[in-house]
């Protein structure tokens, strides 16, 4: 069975990260999970590994509300970086927000494949795998 090679989980909520990581590992659908606490951390990681696309994740699960650099700010920076990234990366915006404004905003950004309302379930992961 094919798997998602690597997922980057970008979220500052430690408990959510713990629980979601466990969900991902239990699903047996993902080989590697990397965790980042906010947009700034994952951006740094990207900058450090531009020349080694194998290190970069296939899928990003991006939270919206994070300190220092939130989801929206990260997406802005990512767009600037994108031309230099030699890899197809699919981004999912993940949030406990059910605000329609946030959903609308996400729809307008091409890089965002979809909006997942927390929690991230095995079903979500199967969908993500299918869309790769």
């Amino acid at each position: 069975m094919s798997k998602i090679k690597s997922i980057a989980l970008v979220d500052d909520d430690e408990i959510f990260v713990f629980l979601t990581k466990m969900t991902i590992e239990d699903s047996n659908l993902v080989e590697d999970v990397k965790v980042f606490r906010n947009g700034s951390e994952v951006l740094t990681f990207f900058n450090e590994n531009l020349n080694d696309p194998r290190q970069l994740p296939e899928v990003i699960l991006l939270d919206i509300f994070m300190p220092i650099m939130d989801g929206w700010q990260f997406l802005e920076e990512y767009l600037v970086l994108k031309p230099h990234i030699n890899k197809k990366i699919i981004i999912y915006l993940v949030s406990s927000s059910i605000s329609p404004q946030d959903h609308q905003k996400a729809k307008k950004i091409n890089e965002v494949a979809n909006f997942i309302i927390k929690p991230v379930t095995r079903k979500n992961l199967l969908e993500i795998l299918k869309n790769l």
Binding site: D13, I15, F16, L19, F65, P67, I68, S99, K118
Partner: protein, 364 residues
């Protein structure tokens, strides 16, 4: 062929009796020497009752005391303008804008001219504008509030629901054990968010608060004493200057909370590479009292974060104690009393937080 102009005096009477504005002339002994039709109608008097007969005191009755300073000042040569609420003889309440102009003749004051405009309608419009402003602010607050609930309360609930699912679906005892330990911190966060929300709601509701006279220096000294250990540990250099405004009329617990939070932040977000230096001072901006807390700490990148300032759970520094509630509460408390809070800052160059209090808080 044009009709000859009426005598100059008659034209003057004609015009003045046919305009809405109220015009009158009072001599230096405060006897009425002229009143146009509108003026007479306003006071419900005839020309015979007023002109060359009535004194200001007789006409105004209890209102005379209120106008006396203006009358005295114009008789000393200074033009006066003031607003006054007047009850007309039919019992209607109207708003008036009164102007007194001194009548100089060869260096002496002979009397003064009075022009009163009925600004009742303008005042009503002004009031409605004010109401709309308040409603707009409340609307924005409600929107903010809804966003907060939609996210900040839902997030821990999502975690609890995931934990619950793991416990019920897992047969691994160790795993279940770990899950049980994760419950407490989530509930703690939920409680804290909830308490902060309720507190901020109560703040908005508490309009009938007790206003007390607060001495800035006393309050600041108390706050600094509470932070004494921190101050000594960092060798912080703290100064204050309340010369421009020593006191303020304000609900004590809010002022305490506002100053505490600003000072506490200045210490918390100090730059680790240098000795913290903090200045707390009051300034007068027109007749409004302002408090400034100036520090040389780590600063904030306002270009990136301006729209997130003062919002709940927005944190800009990777500091273990940064929870994102402090400035939100401070702003709520400042806003509730009709004040404004603002910040100037640069990364690694420190910050200046300014609270501008509503002018009603000025101590006379």
């Amino acid at each position: 062929m044009k009709k000859p102009l009426k005598h100059k005096r008659d034209i003057g009477m004609l015009v003045s009796d046919n305009i809405e504005a109220m015009l009158a002339y009072w001599d230096k002994d405060q006897v009425c020497r002229f009143a146009n039709k509108a003026y007479l109608n306003w006071f419900g008097k005839t020309k015979e009752d007023m002109v060359d007969k009535i004194t200001m005191k007789e006409l105004l009755g209890p209102l005379y005391i209120k106008n006396l300073t203006y009358i005295t000042s114009v008789l000393n040569g200074k033009p006066q303008q003031f607003e006054r609420e007047i009850t007309t003889p039919d019992g209607e309440i109207r708003q008036a804008l009164a102007n007194y102009y001194p009548d100089f003749e060869e260096g002496t004051i002979r009397g003064f001219f009075v022009h009163i405009a009925d600004i009742t309608r303008q005042k009503k419009i002004e009031e409605q504008l004010q109401l709309m402003k308040v409603l707009a602010v409340q609307n924005a607050q409600l929107k903010d509030f809804c966003n907060i609930i939609s996210h900040n309360l839902r997030a821990p609930l999502v975690n609890l629901s995931m934990i619950s699912d793991f416990i019920s679906e897992s047969k691994d005892l160790d795993k279940r054990e770990i899950m049980f330990t994760k419950i407490k911190p989530v509930i703690s966060t939920l409680n804290e968010t909830f308490d902060n929300l309720i507190e901020s709601l109560e703040t908005k509701e508490e309009i009938g608060l007790l206003f007390e006279k607060n001495n800035f220096e006393e309050l600041t000294k108390k706050i600094l004493e509470i932070h004494r250990i921190e101050i000594e540990m960092y060798s912080a250099n703290i100064q204050y200057d309340f010369n421009e405004a020593e006191h303020i009329y304000y609900p004590k617990k809010y002022l305490d909370s506002i100053l505490s939070n600003l000072i506490s932040n200045a210490l918390k977000y100090r730059a680790t590479s240098r000795t913290p230096s903090i200045l707390i001072k009051t300034e007068m901006k027109g007749n409004k009292i302002c408090v400034k807390v100036i520090d040389n700490g780590s600063g904030i990148d306002l270009k990136k974060n301006k729209q997130h300032m003062f919002k709940m759970r927005k944190v800009f520094h990777d500091h273990p104690d940064a929870k994102g509630f402090g400035l939100f509460m401070t702003k709520t408390q400042v806003d509730a009393m009709g004040g404004e809070i603002s910040v100037e800052s640069n990364p690694d160059r420190g910050s200046i937080f300014t609270v501008e209090f509503n002018q009603k808080n000025t101590v006379i």
